[in-house]
Subunit: 195 residues, 2 copies
Amino acid sequence: MKTRDRIIEAAAALLDSGGEAAVTLRAVGHACGISHNAPYKHFEDRSALLAAVAIRDCVTLSDSFEKLGKERLKPLAKLEKALQVLSQYGRDYPHRYQLLFSDRDIAMQEGELQRAAMAAFSALAELVGECQAGKVLPRVPTVELAGLLYASVHGLIDLQASGRMKTEKGFKDVRHGITLLLRVLSMGSASTGAK
Amino acid sequence: MKTRDRIIEAAAALLDSGGEAAVTLRAVGHACGISHNAPYKHFEDRSALLAAVAIRDCVTLSDSFEKLGKERLKPLAKLEKALQVLSQYGRDYPHRYQLLFSDRDIAMQEGELQRAAMAAFSALAELVGECQAGKVLPRVPTVELAGLLYASVHGLIDLQASGRMKTEKGFKDVRHGITLLLRVLSMGSASTGAK
DNA sequence: ACCTGAACACCGTTCAAGT
DNA sequence: ACCTGAACACCGTTCAAGT
């Protein structure tokens, strides 16, 4: 495995176990058996290294969504499955989720990350469009509905990832929230609703 | 003004202008005309100071929600106004918003912050309940609907605060997203819907 | 009770030097 | 092309000492 990839992997592992603050170049270097400033030969600076971690995960997610689009399932089932993939990622790797979907500095990165993020969104929007065609989601502009749906699910996942998902606030878990969301949304489209 | 409050204010100002990384005890001390370790006489550590900033804002928001509940307006108008107050806060102070509603370490704080956050949520849930009684929101358990609504709006605001609200992804602004959300939700309740 | 200055361990980043 | 060690400026935190 190339040094560059080993550095990314070490950074991801440190991020998972101790949060962003734990991703120090010294710890990364030590985990890879290199000096603390060797990473500078592979990445511009610390922020570029974190971006590389985010890009790797974003590409993985985007691929999952595209694969899901080709499965032979009902549109709504496909959409629900895609959203569960996202929420599973948020549950398993809360720090990486927040880096990819909630971090301000990461969002400023241009280029590769933007492209990967847009690809993921487009794959999701396509699934939403199929649901509308099948009359299981309301007939409002597709991109807008996809954006709103994505924002809502992001809200649920981020609430959990940040440790704010309390039962007193009406939350059981993200999966339950997504199911409720789709049910309430589909109520406004056709007679598919109920229970 | 007490030194303690001046420290909080200085921290909030630094947070607004340069993000969390800019809130160094040295900068805070300098802004207050005291030494860089004087804040330790008022707060346990840096994280407790940040928590104090979050608590102050949370109490302000909670008060706003309570006041809104007493206004003479239609339930849905009250609810929409409350959500706009929240989104306005997110637009004006994105770093403070993310500290209060997206930061992991802040969420771990017990006591005062938890109480303020719960009070804010309860005030919101009450408005949701009024809407359901007025048949403009679907008849699902009130806390669950309030939780879902809060999560969705949080998702919209956080997307904007983190710099991810791109028009290609179907977003105009948070206000527009909230309106769309309430419209789609109310479609599934009674004949109030349409356009 | 509140503040200061010096000190410590830790960090990102730079740079001259090595293979 | 890739790596190292020393150095720099900057942190949070602690502590003895001052009023």
